[in-house]
Symmetry: C2
Subunit: 384 residues, 2 copies
């Protein structure tokens, strides 16, 4: 196990009716920016609960943060925050709204061009405090320090990390997610599943607790995912999905172990180029990446076959084949297609994605740095 | 799953050489009380590393915190801290030293008699910040807000909880534990095992992630425990024990689920009355409690048999018998005897322990409140 520092200071209020806790978390004299998406929170009662919890505080609202939140949209929220001397950001939405809130929180007090936070890894030295009311289980953004921001004008999608943007608190009320369209719930399950795989499916590193925690989350997603899709108002199934998605990316399972974020990096390019939902890009890349990288990931693929899919019969290669097939079947069972052609994209995109990653300095992805542009191309051609 | 609030703000620096991080964590002008036990840290190099990390800071030292830290001892440290205007407590030791540090941190600014924090649940409104360098994996105190304090003069052992005494940081360097006597390592494994059982072995509560995390920790303790006892300098085995013991009681697995702390409550009385090592009291109580409470815990006992011990053959009752026997064998394999008679204690203590718990208002222990004084007596008579 490698050395690590583990720190996750977000206070999580989990369960029915917990949105009221927003009222305890924010100072009474806070000047709040309520950041949200398209307005679905006004139809499902979440907005009313949030406003009731905020009481007489000074609140400005900014709706319209889109999926894959856009830099230009968020800069409007930054402008509003600066003009109105906002001192708290309250995100009410899914991972896109939360990521957007983190960016706004870091950008408001930033001295130069906030694009540098993303494009040049400029250090975030100050940030407004962020709170969150989660309405979509998927990204883990409710309990981590990362954000991914797109800039459609430049066809870019970039990430930044700062301990200053951990939400101070997050409310996770499973009932606030009941009205989500099935497609978004499925995407959330698929995204969380991939987050776990990327911290787990590398090579053995003498870290059995991290391994078993990762396998625990995968099994819960496999068992509870179909239940919550079949009956969106099954409280326990939805609660388990919400909690599993948080743990998939609250950094605990990734401590001291190798990681392979190539699926996300390749996926981001597919979203930037073709507008495919984030989780769907992962479903395309992941089974194919497992196949192309099966030699380097051999021991963990066998462990994954055994402990996650109960595959213990047949040769090692047969078990690995079966585990990769089970992964693909799992995504398809969620209603998520796993081939580029399903999204009207041809294999020609493979070379373009490889070129773009190379141009961004991502020529050595994967836990061993052996996912070169040529390997990226092979993965995407296999995913055609 | 029940509603819950999860918050664990402790920053953990894990691994070789991490004691140096103490130098980053404490303000340069801090007035530090270094709290420690018997002085073993001066023989194994930990003390020298801590002092090097503290550099030129103003440091007072208080050695002599005993196992099951004593109120009267700790009040001497409180007096020293008040006289010297200490503003940081640095615990260097195991769970006893850490628990002691939490009590000192809360007692120094406490207005009345600090005994009230323990005996009357007096609210802790202020506490000095606590940091920790852990030298014994066992209690989880390095990453929780609880402390258990004894008062030998009154034959008492009582606990308190306050979010203000979460360590601000804890250093977990597995190498700092290499020189521990095997008996203490075994006790630590047994203590951590029991912590997990007490948050897990109740009744199903629709919380599969918490269940699987608990099972993960138990399996790691079962697999890595014997390895680290056989070869104390096997870095990975010791690192896995350290990390598993932290997760056994950092509150994550207990979120939203029923809990049964009867083994600890009964065990505390056995320590107070007979001076038996804390972990050894648990080894006496736990298998016997599983047997007496097997009806109420039936579904979880079957799950425990299956997932922790791979027991899937035979009738349900046979599997439960086998799981209880495996639990007893596990403790005995660590060198920890599991009967009262092994400690020179007769069954007569059963009535006395039951009476004492009753007198403290603990007449309804267990996840259903059905461990009455009569049941406590039955458990201890069965453990004779």
């Amino acid at each position: 196990m490698d050395n690590f520092t583990y720190h996750n200071p977000t206070r999580i209020h989990f369960g029915r009716g917990q949105i009221a806790k927003v009222g305890q978390e924010l100072p009474l004299n806070a000047r709040v920016l309520l950041l949200a998406g398209s307005g679905s929170i006004k139809r499902n009662g979440v907005y009313d609960q949030v406003r009731a919890a905020l009481g007489a505080r000074t609140v400005f609202e900014f709706f319209g943060v889109e999926a894959n939140p856009d830099f230009d949209t968020l800069m409007q929220a930054v402008g509003l925050s600066r003009r109105e001397r906002i001192d708290w950001i309250l995100a009410v939405g899914g991972g896109s709204v939360l990521d957007g809130a983190k960016f706004v929180a870091a950008a408001v007090p930033f001295a130069g061009d906030p694009w540098d936070i993303l494009a040049k890894n400029a250090e975030v030295k100050k940030a407004l405090p962020v709170g969150a009311v989660l309405t979509l289980p998927a990204t883990g953004s409710e309990s981590n320090s990362a954000a991914v921001i797109s800039r459609r004008a430049l066809k870019e999608k970039l990430a930044f990390l700062s301990p200053l943007v951990f939400p101070q608190f997050s409310v996770l009320d499973p009932e606030a997610t009941f009205s989500l369209p099935a497609r978004q719930v499925a995407n959330g399950i698929g995204d969380a599943f991939c987050h776990v795989i990327e911290q787990y499916l590398t090579y053995p590193a003498g870290a059995p607790l991290q391994d078993r925690f990762a396998e625990s989350i995968l099994r819960v997603l496999i068992e509870e995912g179909p239940k919550t899709l079949a009956d969106p108002r099954d409280y326990d199934a939805r609660a388990n999905l919400v909690w599993a998605a948080t743990w998939a990316l609250n950094t605990a399972i990734g401590m001291g172990v190798p990681q392979d974020w190539a699926s996300h990096m390749i996926g981001h390019e597919l979203t930037a180029l073709h507008g495919i939902d984030h989780a769907r890009t992962l479903a395309v890349v992941l089974p194919s990446l497992m196949q192309v990288q099966r030699a380097g990931k051999r021991e963990k693929l066998l462990q994954y076959a055994d402990r996650v899919w109960d595959l213990r019969e047949g040769t090692e290669d047969a078990r690995i084949d079966a585990a990769i097939a089970a992964t693909r079947r799992f995504y398809e069972s969620l209603g998520i297609a796993t081939h580029l052609s399903d999204y009207g994209v041809t294999a020609d995109t493979a070379a373009e994605v490889a070129r773009r990653l190379d141009a961004k300095g991502m020529a050595k992805l994967g836990e061993r740095g052996d996912i070169t542009p040529a390997v990226v191309e092979r993965i995407l051609r296999l995913a055609a």
